[in-house]
Symmetry: C2
Subunit: 548 residues, 2 copies
């Protein structure tokens, strides 16, 4: 009897889990096998009623095939989501990859109308592409107000630095997004913008009290709730003046009282990924899931161990720690969200992407990417040609295995090379480029005599912990300038980083800044610097018609 009841409860709890799976078709292709269930288990759980899957890795073609497969395995409706805040192409090859939201946040100060228009297009582009590859829930927009310039994890992902800019832009974005028939998600409640610690690595603790939240952090959430956002994602941060015992994800005060009751949010509350170290350093996989659910979360995203999460929640329900009514409420909210989705036919997708002549990224999408790059790239001074035979193009990235925005044929390599520069790539695993006696100067003898073109790809990237980059590269700028060896500086990524560096730059040095790091942004910046003509492709202009 109890076992039967347990089994029933398990199936219901399973509906509230959102489990990570690889976007690739086959087990051997999983990039993170520790975090991604093998197909046999995934299929089993979907058959039993698993509520959602979050996909990582693969191309849009594969995501589409994958989403069809998962739906077939599931039989009932499931939530299929992905973290595509900056375009489907941010995660999945073949989709559009847009410059980060902060690019429009910065634009808003100069031309609010244009920024709002582009934010709506931004949302529309993501919604349309997500739907076309089979996703039905987009984990965006980020509603955090990036009030802290040292924020390592939100940073350029935010739509601005003040609450009204963020609020205006996310509402436009949201209108575009949901017009395409996908569910939305406001994150990370109650606001992750004022943190200096990466919650992927450890727990951020904040001093902000309720009146401060009301003044800044809550404004975009409130406005998006009024605009019908479908879900809200919690933050793994501790607001010690509001709830000193529980991080937001586990806080009844924040989720049940503030978000549900005071802000009147009726949609789905979803946790941020429970595998993040802010959680796993302190709580076991079962306990973390129970605490989130107990605090008011409806959906449990990426539990560290889905099986333990289910058992622990079931146990908490059976023992009365959590009333069964809470389970029913969460299930009911999930049904309502599912019922909002436009129904669509898998087979028609199949045709559209695989077998039709259409490109996935449509010309509107391409124009949008180009437009946002055009308005967001800043260039100061032109680079004059230099026939030194020691020219060095030094590219700095966090990570190269892989590096999404760099390949051998990236403009960041090809264009400087065409103009006589030797390419050198510096990354976290590489041979050390620093002077032995100082951590903050380049050992110039390891490169070539110069001068140097510096291309620094720096963003507040999750998991990287690279806050010291600013001081280090300021020192490098000083070093190279003092020896007359800095021919130009380009920053791709963090506005804050660029802003700090540009303060110490000699105003005559050519410099450029691009919020986007993608090849199209590299091309735009370097074409302008070098007055480069894009090379003609070899065969493009050369079609013979077979009818003359």
């Amino acid at each position: 009897m109890i076992s039967l009841q347990k089994n029933e409860l398990r199936k219901k709890v399973l509906e509230l889990l959102v489990i990570r799976a690889s976007g690739f078709s086959f087990d051997s292709q999983r990039q993170y096998p520790l975090w991604e269930l093998p197909n046999e288990q995934l299929k089993y759980l979907l058959k039993q009623g698993l509520g959602g899957v979050i996909l990582h890795g693969g191309s849009v073609q594969e995501i589409k095939n994958r989403s069809i497969t998962l739906r077939r395995w599931a039989k009932q409706s499931i939530l299929l989501c992905a973290d595509v805040e900056e375009g489907v192409g941010q995660r999945f090859e073949g989709g559009s990859w847009l410059p980060p939201p902060m690019a429009l946040g910065l634009r808003y100060a100069k031309n609010p109308q244009e920024a709002l228009y582009l934010a709506e297009q931004y949302g529309r582009c993501i919604g349309s592409q997500a739907r076309r590859c089979g996703l039905n829930w987009v984990l965006a927009p980020v509603c955090d107000v990036n009030s802290n310039p040292l924020n390592p994890v939100i940073n350029m992902r935010a739509w601005g630095k003040d609450p009204h800019t963020v609020s205006a832009l996310v509402c436009s974005f949201h209108r575009g997004l949901i017009s395409q028939g996908v569910l939305s998600c406001a994150k990370h409640f109650p606001g992750h913008g004022d943190t200096r610690v990466d919650s992927h690595l450890e727990l951020p603790i904040l001093d902000n009290d309720f009146s401060r939240l009301k003044e800044i952090e809550l404004i975009p959430f409130k406005d998006l709730i009024d605009n019908g956002v479908h879900s809200v994602m919690t933050a793994h941060i501790l607001l010690k003046k509001i709830d000193s015992a529980f991080i937001a994800t586990f806080s009844k005060k924040l989720l049940s009282h503030l978000l549900r009751e005071k802000l009147g949010f009726q949609g789905l509350i979803v946790t941020d990924a429970l595998i993040m170290k802010a959680i796993t350093k302190k709580y076991g996989p079962g306990e973390a899931a129970v605490m989130a659910f107990e605090a008011g979360a409806d959906l449990i995203l990426m539990p560290e161990n889905p099986f333990e999460a289910i058992e622990a929640i079931v146990e908490a329900l059976i023992k009365g720690r959590i009333p069964v009514k809470r389970l029913e409420q969460s299930l009911e909210r999930r049904y309502r969200a599912i019922s909002k989705l436009n129904s669509f036919d898998c087979d028609s997708f199949d045709d559209e992407i695989s077998f039709n002549n259409k490109e996935f990224e449509q010309s509107d999408d391409q124009c949008l990417v180009k437009k946002i790059i055009d308005i967001s790239v800043e260039i100061r001074n032109n680079l004059s040609s230099n026939d030194s035979n020691g020219l060095v193009n030094l590219i700095r990235v966090d990570d190269i295995l892989p590096c999404k925005f760099l390949s051998k044929s990236s403009p960041a390599f090809l264009i400087p090379k065409k103009f006589g520069y030797k390419n050198v790539l510096f990354h976290s695993l590489g041979v050390d480029p620093w002077k032995k006696d100082s951590n903050d100067q380049l050992a110039l003898d390891r490169f070539g005599k110069g001068p140097f073109l510096l291309q620094l790809f720096v963003r507040g990237n999750p998991f990287q912990g690279n806050q010291n980059e600013t001081a280090r590269w300021k020192a490098v700028v000083h070093q190279l300038q003092s020896k007359d060896l800095l021919s130009a500086l380009i920053v791709y990524g963090s506005f804050y980083f660029w802003h700090d560096l540009s303060k110490v730059l000699n105003p005559s040095i050519p410099t450029a800044y691009s919020p986007g790091q993608m090849p199209a942004a590299q091309q735009k910046t370097l074409d302008a610097f070098f007055q480069n003509d894009k090379e003609q492709t070899l065969i493009k202009e050369n079609v013979i018609k077979f009818t003359d």
Copy 2:
């Protein structure tokens, strides 16, 4: 009238072209847009009768979708090929990636029976996977006898160093391959094994005369022709004692007289890729195609510019430089090859790969990979544990953007890290690790105090021109040994390179050699070195059944 005739001829010539296309679905995903036609042009040419496509890039899932699309565009039967000499996974994610053929060539000396058995399985694995993702023509086996240890481009791709080993193994391989219903290709005629120059970069010139060819190079080709190989690929090499005017690809003496008449080959002669620099440095795109066809080639692979190739061949036919009969013979040979292919139904593939629970790489395939790794990895001495806090794991690769066999979660990084090593990755674009006053010693101050675990990934890779690696790394071995800083050496790839290094190694130094560079080979080697237990995956053993 002439224009009509021209148009007819164009369509016929088009059937003899094999054009490169991206394995990815969308134009924006092309990795080499200079070499890969956009979809609109590809579709147009297929509709007009293009004879074949060679695919590069993408996963098996994408190749399958792509092959279905291309067949639909074509309407008539087309040849779909890929360079998957070492497994479908060598090119396409999700397929099996096998250690290079030379691994079995080396095994043959010790256990010919086993080597022959495994060679047949090797062919069967490739044939089956190629067919299942929609390819029908495998550009393998390499029939070159790697008689020259300094060969930069064949090297480990060969099945051996002597003609009889190669011949026995390629015949076994071929039997397995064609049993799966795909076409085969013996390459590179008349033998590319005795070259010291990479024909991707410049033209190799050889002194070998006909009697030498007969004694060594021709033996595997002859035997494979007797075994019914479907096509033979030409080599871009100059055999100056046989035909001092024309490279093999353009040599009537070699293609028409030797291969067709003397060796009696009735199948398809296909050029090696005409975009290789040995060709393009000297000949225009039209002239190269005409010369190959004139010499006796049936199919023109990867012409530098397909449109110019067509026009030039049509012109040569109209002007009588090449008799129209030659065109008809080549077309006839192509029809015969096509008719040999098992017919298969696209839709059934669709189901098999996309929507079924089956993994693409089957357990037989996995066992085969494991078996060949097991018999080919050589390990000498165990690594003793070392609690120095300066341990360095120095990994050397040619290229990292991308590096197929390395990711952040590769065993080559993870296992040494677990045992206290700091990972450093050295590659051609990185910061220089060499002493200023010598190109052949490591600047040790750039790393950590050591000792060093060296993991050198060195193969005779096309396009790399890395013949100097042996001298350089010998010097490093001397340097580290003399300072007692070499804790161990692992070579992944070239047997020749390993053999040379092991000669200068102190016999007490732990060392390992693996012909394969893939993660599974890294795991095998490092597990043995470190007596490492493979980590359990977090959730694998933990399935809850919903029926208790």
